[in-house]
Symmetry: D2
Subunit: 343 residues, 4 copies
């Protein structure tokens, strides 16, 4: 349920209404939008009569029920206004969100060694990326496959950050690693395989770093938003959703099916920023540029693109990585307006 | 297998090589590209030694095996060159193919009555569409649902064509209707449900009108190209492929999952033109503009968009139809360059 | 809508009620069950008040609305009673339906030559099969693959029938072949790829031979029953449903995913007999026995099993064919009670 | 790679070969089968020449490469012999494995209160179940849904165990809860959503309690076996695989698609015991008996069935729970031989 306040409502009145709501056993959350202030209410609201709430203050414009099962994640919860995830990086604040510039995150699947991560960081920064991605802890199908360099990879990410000023995004697979990862990372990634690892979601929801939540391989849009809701409900409002391809019957020429319609669907349902990962989404470097362009045209707020100095020798996911030169070229294309019907 | 001829090969020599190939039991097909002439060979080539063919003329540059199971549909068969489907319409020739302007096909799901189809045709023409779509024979899940007005709808399409000069695209469900449909239609549509109706594919392959082949709901890219191969093998080289969404586990907010990665994948595998249908692909009018933009950005050669003067009262598929005004607006957006990373 | 009549309703009264319903613009169909007579009504019943119908005769017990979109195919339409499909064969009538013995249909994917089809027919008959299956017209993904021997294969099926007295089941792909196929076949098969070839469904619905309707590769249960409804609505009440595996993300070790839960689901929803095809359902002969046993245990009314005298040399689908010896062994297992928890 | 030893190989020789293998940098594991002793070898074996190993002892019969990516989980690793998971319970040892009686695990989705869990335990024991299932920690799509009673539920499970002597199976979602769960549980369950929570797999692999590994919603058979390999590789050989339905396009009448062909497929690929969960597999109590019978007929080693004293009031998954009476009835059916072709 949300309480929409009239413009000009004095802050003491907002405070008073919130306090009152607490006494009703609800958890109020103040959302300051561009035009309005909204108080989001979570708790046992099913039986509540909106009119009873309306009566508690003349500054209340209306009281609306959030119909979606995902409450805090729903667009309605912010009365239609998109949210922004603002991430401080050494190079300055980066804002993820509708209407802002598309943020590009780039880097290798895994952090392999110092020279490769530094070189990649420098190249992707030069091309216009704002964040470096790179796995320290890697979820691998086989226990015998390279599992990431762990802590030492975190040091290398820290070094790359120091050298380039880029923000760092890296995956958390285990709550036990959370603290040391959070020392380096500016955004914590929850991978597709852990999208419904509810224990982990609660943990990243209870710490302050923004969270990049990848869509599970066969998660419906609703399940994905419910997973985001776990993080939001635990107190962390900074969630970025990342579509990375879903699993379908056709896996011959692409590794996954990139569900770009998720962009307008999410835009309608949620206020959260939307990222697209065409690298995992297709699984092949040669298909990444077309899908990156499509994602931007469809309205994505961010892109995550794998870049590796030598994809043929990558310890993981080489086939889907662009070379730094290919990434340069793609960024140049993406910085110019895209083609229209006339071509 | 294909025979690539040197530039300047005299036409009698091309003739001679083709005739020779016939005596070997193969079916040669001359493909005149921008730079080269290629002779495609279909038949029992598995055991053939390319070198033996090479020897039959000094004008042969090389002889290459087509590795794909789809031979005539493969990009290799034309030695990498895209094909064009040229369709004469009252308003002039329209060319579908890589590098040409994106062709827009628009109109209602079903032809309902004269005024609606004429009005729609005039509006979509004014907005920039080159073809009118409209179903006379409709494949409906229920035998009790509206099955299309059949022959009388064909007359209305003819009237709309006469009034506007637009080309006509309409679906063939039954070989028995082929002749009368072909009198009106400029392009024959094979619907998703009939993509592997091999009898029908052979029939449309044996007549001269271009064919729009929609992807089956759960057809792999390879199966789809093999279906195109049925048409090509029957003698009709004019096939346009249309992605219209595949069936996946997630059908809550979209009717199908629009597989836009099919665009770069097909571009690599085949020379045939590629159309995207975001209306069926998403099932909801509100998601059509984002997906239309994405399709163009990803490199589609054509778009098919449902437009209905009054979607709320449509006899079929109203939810996914744009109004003429919404279509106008979308066409204006698509005629300008699309957004880049900066927005 | 259905009219349930009281036991002992005189036949003139049944006639009178039916005639009355015709005058109301409805199509009545008399269904004689074990305990009751029911009159099924198809047409514009949405606005009809059941009570108004009730009033027309004191012999009417109640009038019930069929809530499912598939009317004649629904279990409700027969007031809960299963239907039987009775097929005359030279060896006598064979009954498909709930509560009757499980009917086994066996034979090769394609009819290849006289000796193989006769030999197979004799072996499967000896093992207990009641029907011989064998393709004369084959739907093949590639236009270059063996397409079936067509008419001459029909002659061979006729010869096998004459020799063994088995009933014949073979596929119709094209309405143009219907007549000549119906001369030989006792049951006409509609393949998975044509499940929504509505023109063909209407045609087989308008002729008298029973129809075996295979489930489409990605057809929902409801779409499948709606396809059956096309046949029933066209006047043919003898439809057998055959589950043959659906398409899912996992195709590494099986060709399709055999959806055995379709058995209890269909049992609840429809009165039509249910067949399972574990050969296409798994794609591998080694997995057929386990799935055949499971199908029988789950309540299937019939099994379709591919048998080939020399699977390694089969012109199509060899990998999923049992040898006659393997089929013998399976039939012996299936004729004994299956294992319980103690083993 | 595995070393198959001749019968009668002296144990010192087995020891010696194992020690030698350690010096080669490999991890040997002794597997005592019914007829043979096999030494499994894991490590960098790709470059190793089997003949070189053969030479180290005249007692070596042959040295074979395990071709599957899952090594320890593969059937080849035990030279074709199935493994057994032996679980001590107050009522005695229960053996899961091919050829042994089918083990039935039953109980509610969640442990709700003392009387319900005790009552359920008594009823399912009386009917023939050997294990009580019941969730203390529940993975729920919504953060606002009942999340299980946690620790207090563990106490109730302990009480039910004390009262009935049944073994206990309950889910671990978080490594932090592992110890306290292991105090009560005889088998630890890893749920579908955590099948690729590799951190958790490593943790349950490093403790001694047997593990029930549910298949992920969209996990291929190979990914599932690789997940089992994580547990085996961490040192725990006692893994039971549980199929619980996969996610497909058709979710109208069943919640998931129960992939019973997984039974013969797994039987071929792995030595591990196989359990089927028809409750989650179908999502509806009315379809459970048919699928339980099918699972047993197809060769399952164990069944997991949800039973709740009052499904209509269950805090979770009521729709798929049998009542104790329905469970009784099902167990009686399953204890008698199942129907054959004649019925």
């Amino acid at each position: 349920m949300i309480i929409v306040l009239k413009s000009g409502t004095p802050s003491e009145e907002i405070e008073r209404v919130s306090t009152e709501m607490c006494t009703w056993g609800l958890t109020p959350e103040k959302i300051v939008g561009k035009h309005k202030v909204v108080i989001g209410l979570v708790g046992e609201t099913a039986e509540l009569d909106p009119l009873r709430i309306q009566e508690i203050s003349p500054w209340i414009e209306h009281v609306l029920r959030v119909e979606q099962p995902f409450k805090r994640a729903s667009r309605e919860y912010r009365h239609g206004e998109p949210s922004e995830v603002v991430v401080p990086t050494p190079n300055g604040e980066v804002i993820f969100g509708e209407g802002h510039d598309v943020v590009v995150v780039a880097g290798p699947c895994s952090v392999e060694n110092e020279s490769m991560i530094i070189e990649t960081a420098q190249r992707v920064k030069a091309a216009g990326a704002k964040f470096l991605r790179g796995g320290a802890y890697k979820p691998r199908t086989s226990p015998y496959a390279f599992q990431g360099h762990g802590e030492s990879a975190l040091d290398l990410l820290a070094a790359a950050k120091a050298k380039t000023g880029l923000g760092i995004i890296t995956e958390v697979m285990d709550a036990a690693d959370l603290e040391k990862i959070a020392e380096v990372a500016d955004v914590l990634q929850i991978g597709a395989r852990n999208m419904q690892n509810f224990s982990l979601l609660k943990r990243v929801g209870a710490q302050p770093k923004p969270v990049l939540l990848k869509r599970g391989m066969s998660a419906t849009i609703e399940e994905w938003l419910m997973a985001a809701e776990y993080i939001l409900a635990a107190g962390n409002p900074n969630v970025i959703l990342c579509e990375r391809g879903i699993r379908t019957f056709d896996r011959e020429y692409t590794r996954n099916t990139l569900d770009l319609a998720a962009i307008p669907v999410l835009r309608k349902l949620t206020h959260l920023p939307i990222m697209i990962d065409p690298s995992h989404g297709t699984g092949w470097a040669e298909f990444v540029p077309a899908m990156a362009k499509a994602a931007v045209a469809a309205g994505a707020d961010a892109l995550m693109i794998e870049v590796h100095p030598n994809p043929a020798k990558a310890l993981s996911d080489g086939a889907q990585s662009l070379t730094p030169d290919q990434f340069d070229e793609l960024m140049q294309v993406l910085q110019r307006p895209l083609v229209s019907l006339s071509r």
